[in-house]
């Protein structure tokens, strides 16, 4: 029931907003739909906590601890983002950067995007997972190009082609998976792609095929995660799209992609009994961290900067999942949570800052602290959090990942630390003048909606100081489910 609502409300929202998306109350409707989704997600989570894993719709969908918390997170960030986008998009409308019909497109696609992500998270069918991922790409492409500027078009095009091609590889991987599964589960076709069934028989799946399948799946979904060197679409898409979209892309879509990768990894590892998948993940992770750290160094556009920081953090998470084992998985899940909260908060603040300064170039954004203390503090706090300064949650997760790496993969630790150091210098050195420098900006017609920012940061802070036991159990269950190591 809750589940039905969970998927129905964004879809319904998409349809409704497709009609009324240009009305004055469209933004409110958008928020309302997101709220409904969030409530549904909470109810669902409550049920999962109560009853444990559950399967619905002829096993086509299932909820286990792993995706349950991602569903809640997605719904929550979706809600806050919709709240944030209300004043933000209004300002954009007044600046004439978007027209009413485009606003309709925006609202409708926003809900559609949420729906596709929720489907991708909850589906039990690897094929459906692929379909949903592709759909997520398609629904965001037009959002990225919402402004129809040359840059946004270019970004959108690259996003489309690179992710499309990547996803195509994933499809081939899925085919191979099916090919291997059908030997065991029979060609009935229905069950042969259900993750639960595959997971049950993963020991018997043909290793040779699965290793190939994993490569295709990794390249495919990895492209969407933004793993270097498949990441090239990411900074452009983040920088050129409207800020709310950057926030959900970076905060949610990447998580979903990682989720897909991890699901595949679980299967393949079960069949291969070899370190190969873990090694690949760790390699990609490290490469992404290092490359992103150095690219951070040259950024001038604030949203590009934080896009690269997203790549860096995805690298960290991937590396952690690659290490596997209860602690690393736990840390990775925690990091996924805090990263998506923090990063979306940062994008909110940065979006307002850019609106104030009328430019996304960091040298044009100065002295936020005097211009609008709330934005300034939001940006500063967010940056400090994302840099992994205690007492924020990112510190907790990074601390765990690093300490585990010291024990499991000592060779990797210095690389990680060096990259983190470079990233620290880069981000801190750029954010600090933006917040505290001499200012030159103009007033904002609307009071910024910074409730989301501080809500997110507050949660991150709490997670840094204290992870409530049930949440910890929950993570732990998910971590056990992922296993590895």
């Amino acid at each position: 029931m809750e589940f039905l609502l969970l998927l129905a409300s964004p879809l319904a929202g998409a349809v409704l907003l497709g009609f009324f998306g240009a009305r004055r109350w469209a933004a409110e409707l958008n928020a309302a739909m997101s709220l409904a989704t969030f409530l549904a997600a909470c109810a669902l989570t409550a049920r999962v906590i109560a009853q444990g894993q559950l399967l619905v719709a002829h096993e086509q969908f299932f909820i286990d601890p792993f995706n349950a918390f991602l569903v809640t997170l997605t719904a929550f960030v979706g809600l806050t983002t919709s709240l944030f986008s209300r004043p933000y998009m209004r300002v954009e409308l007044e600046h004439g950067r978007v027209s009413a019909p485009r606003l309709r497109l925006y609202h409708s696609l926003y809900q559609l995007f949420m729906a596709t992500m929720l489907i991708a998270l909850t589906t039990n069918n690897m094929g459906l997972l692929w379909v949903a991922m592709e759909a997520a790409t398609l629904s965001t492409v037009l959002l990225v190009t919402l402004y129809r500027t040359a840059a946004s078009l270019e970004a959108g095009w690259k996003y489309f082609i690179l992710c499309g091609v990547g996803i195509a590889q994933a499809l081939f991987g899925t085919i191979l998976l099916y090919f291997a599964a059908e030997k065991i589960l029979g060609a009935a076709g229905v069950t042969a792609l259900l993750w639960t069934h595959l997971n049950a028989v993963k020991g018997q799946l043909e290793p040779a095929v699965l290793s190939l399948a994993f490569v295709f799946l990794l390249v495919g979904y990895g492209t969407k995660v933004g793993l270097a060197p498949l990441h090239n679409w990411l900074p452009d898409a983040h920088a050129e799209g409207p800020t709310p979209i950057s926030a959900v892309l970076s905060g949610l879509l990447l998580n979903v992609a990682i989720y897909a990768v991890v699901r595949c990894k679980v299967l393949v590892e079960g069949s291969l009994h070899s370190q190969l998948p873990s090694r690949m993940l760790m390699g990609f992770g490290l490469l992404s961290v290092v490359l992103a750290a150095f690219f951070l160094w040259r950024q001038r556009d604030v949203k590009r900067l934080f896009a690269y920081s997203s790549i860096e953090h995805m690298g960290i998470i991937t590396f952690a999942f690659g290490m596997g084992g209860p602690v690393a998985n736990f840390a990775a899940l925690l990091h996924m949570t805090v990263h998506s909260l923090t990063k979306s908060a940062i994008f909110f603040a940065a979006g307002h800052a850019a609106q104030k300064a009328g430019s996304q170039l960091m040298e044009n954004i100065r002295g936020l602290i005097t211009l609008s203390p709330t934005i300034g503090w939001g940006l500063m706090m967010g940056s400090l959090a994302i840099l992994g300064l205690p007492p924020f949650g990112v510190f907790a997760s990074e601390f765990l990942i690093l300490t585990t790496a010291m024990r499991e993969q000592p060779w990797a630790t210095p690389i990680l630390l060096a990259a983190l150091g470079v990233a620290f210098a880069a981000i801190f050195g750029r954010v600090q003048p933006m917040v505290f420098g001499e200012t030159t900006a103009r007033r904002l017609p609307h009071p910024p909606a910074l409730l989301p920012v501080f809500a997110h940061l507050a949660i991150v802070l709490v997670l840094g100081l204290y992870v409530p036991p049930y949440l910890a159990d929950w993570y732990r269950a998910a971590a056990r489910l992922i296993g590895g190591g």
Partner: protein, 234 residues
């Protein structure tokens, strides 16, 4: 191939044709012809699907055949042709970096693909196991096509032929995917093409051309004068 049933011979023929078509695409200069080649590819795919369906008597293959017909043979080429006409790029050609080299790369890719498909074919129980390698080759070749092309339109064609290759792979490896997936994929492809259509017009009205070198401004090497935080304080 004495002793092999005619149907299978025909199927292998289709496979060979597909490979040939991919090479043709790799070296085709004119956009319009590219689209036609894509349509032909879809046709061959259709034939192959029908043959397979007839041979194995799997009904869902008829459905996917219908899908192929509707989508890959009729709808997509029609949309693309319409786009071309609306955008007025019928006579658009593009310079290719030397064809011989490209061909060579293509051949290497095919070899690699066959090697790759070896273990799969060995395991496959389907009648069409040998054509898996060809499917992989088609996928990779269309990848190469996309890399070498400079026009948005031709990249899209490459993208679609990649989808074809995947479809063929699914068919020859496992007699096609479960039905929902087939539909889902088909839907995605359709939407993708529509989105692309919108795109083309946007790009055109921005740059009044579909040349991709307009879409190369977002890059890292541009921001050479990026701020150097450490030296500010020295």
């Amino acid at each position: 191939m004495a002793g092999v049933p005619v149907v299978l011979q025909l199927l292998n023929l289709c496979a060979a044709l597909l490979l040939l078509l991919s090479f043709a695409m790799l070296t085709q200069r004119r956009i319009v012809n590219l689209v036609n080649l894509l349509a032909v590819q879809g046709g061959v795919l259709l034939v192959a699907t029908l043959l397979l369906a007839w041979r194995t008597g799997q009904h869902h293959l008829y459905v996917s055949a219908a899908l192929t017909l509707a989508l890959k043979v009729v709808l997509l080429p029609w949309i693309l042709h319409r786009l071309i006409r609306r955008l007025g790029v019928e006579w658009d050609t593009e310079p290719l970096l030397n064809i011989a080299g490209t061909m060579l790369v293509g051949v290497l890719v095919v070899v690699f693909a066959f090697g790759l498909a070896q273990p799969i074919s060995a395991l496959a129980s389907t009648a069409t196991r040998n054509s898996i390698g060809i499917a992989v080759a088609v996928v990779l070749l269309s990848f190469v096509t996309m890399i070498t092309r400079r026009k948005a339109m031709s990249q899209v064609v490459g993208f679609l032929s990649m989808e074809n290759g995947l479809f063929f792979g699914a068919m020859s490896a496992t007699y096609g995917m479960p039905m929902i997936i087939e539909f889902g994929v088909a839907l995605d492809v359709l939407v993708a093409v529509l989105v692309l259509g919108i795109f083309f017009f946007q790009i055109r009205e921005q740059f009044d051309s579909l040349d991709l070198h307009h879409l190369e401004s977002l890059k890292e090497s541009s921001s050479l004068e990026a701020a150097r935080p450490l030296e500010e304080d020295s």
